[in-house]
Symmetry: C2
Subunit: 267 residues, 2 copies
């Protein structure tokens, strides 16, 4: 019996339960019932299913707390993103202000998204009216979009630029949404996107100006024990990575030691 044998809905519930144990340390049937709108009886089922998956360091019922308590050596059955973790730790009250920053504020035009998605799935080129943030000028150009990209904040896309003769990252908001969006088939296959299919391996260390206890905090925050933190990322996304992690800012807590780039295996 593994997670994969379960239906999607129950798998989601067991994953939630797993996060409760990992991050809260405790879980009750009511947690499941409230979050997923299932009955207490079904939640009891899910607890049984979860416990049958855990062979070592399983959570145990604590009659005093009236709750299951995770073992101190609890091992999660699946990793969780910070957003997942927050979803478990946040004690949101009814319709008050949230305890998280507003995330949905970035905007994407549904029509632009649809046109791009279409061009990607049909492998077509389209004419977009694009405003450069460097020069500030707005001009039409033909591009062949290949993938959407997410930098954690907003959505970008990768496309072959016929104007530049190379692949570039584009920002949908810089496309004029009022345009007609001419579409055309590719007359020649697109060239290979080297930057996309290359992996940059980036080694980082706590910034040299930090004290040793500050440096160990940085290691803790980014989850590495040795000297260096190793990150693997598509070379085409390295710019977004640097910006998002604030590596080039004056107060940066991490600094790059070296970057190695190799052509990725497979896709």
């Amino acid at each position: 019996m593994t997670l994969d044998d379960l239906k999607h809905a129950q798998r989601q519930r067991l994953l939630f339960l797993d996060r409760c144990f990992t991050w809260r340390g405790v879980a009750r049937r009511r947690d499941l019932a409230d979050r997923f709108g299932i009955s207490i009886a079904q939640a009891a089922n899910d607890f049984r299913a979860y416990l049958s998956l855990i062979t070592q360091n399983a959570p145990e019922y604590d009659a005093h707390l009236k709750a299951y308590v995770a073992s101190p050596d609890h091992q999660p059955i699946a990793p969780s993103s910070m957003l997942d973790v927050f979803g478990v730790l946040d004690t949101a009250s009814d319709d008050a202000l949230p305890a998280a920053l507003p995330r949905a504020k970035r905007w994407l035009d549904p029509h632009v998204a649809t046109v791009l998605h279409d061009a990607i799935s049909k492998q077509q080129k389209i004419r977009i009216v694009y405003t450069s943030m460097n020069s500030g000028e707005t001009a039409p150009q033909w591009v062949a979009p290949t993938r959407f990209i997410f930098d954690g904040e907003s959505i970008h896309f990768r496309a072959y630029s016929y104007k530049r003769g190379e692949y570039r990252n584009f920002h949908p908001a810089r496309i004029n949404p009022e345009d007609e969006f001419q579409i055309d088939e590719l007359d020649t296959p697109l060239p290979f996107d080297m930057e996309w299919h290359s992996v940059s391996t980036i080694w980082l260390r706590p910034s040299a100006r930090l004290t040793s206890s500050q440096a160990s905090v940085v290691r803790r925050e980014f989850g590495f024990n040795g000297d260096l933190l190793r990150i693997e990322i598509r070379q085409a996304l390295e710019f977004y990575f640097d910006r998002r992690w604030g590596l080039n800012e004056p107060g940066a807590r991490l600094e790059k030691v070296k970057t190695e780039t190799t052509l990725s295996q497979g896709n």
Copy 2:
């Protein structure tokens, strides 16, 4: 018949379907079957349920495309976060590198999280060994945690600091996880957290140094048409907001016009 009448699992499926129509512009039964592991028959059910919810500008079947196509005036039945949108637009291939930045790299010690969660739910104070990033010094102090906070990247927490005599935001990674974490009941009730219960209304405009076409791109990107973008946020989170949106950086595309703070209603 509304979304709320449905079970959680089916509601999730209809929301996914809604995002397909909104952002991709098309949807097939196979999309649902693949994403949620349901049968084609059940996916057909879901389509019927979805279409019964949509009264105006409903998607229609296109026999040529062999897919449902959203009406050009499609109105989503629920808002979606950028992460949700990306989840629909990304054409992830098998186990290749993702097209999104690594998000799970920030780390949180499960034991520290558990201790904090406990103190919050039981309303206790705890002794933490905390490293200041300003002074770099590490010292024990008593705090009474009240809520977890999410800045979009990592998780922080709000707590009353007995050392400072005021509420502050803390970063879990700066707590020494090896500590024993002494716990104690509150001897007096905590004071009112004014900054937490106040709303800052922030008005932003495109940075003055931008050209007018660049400024309209910025308006498009942040989804406002008028002169000013208005953001409401807990006053206690304003620091994170500024940092996350890069408002104080040299190249900032938005600048603050004014900030008004009022005591929040209710919670």
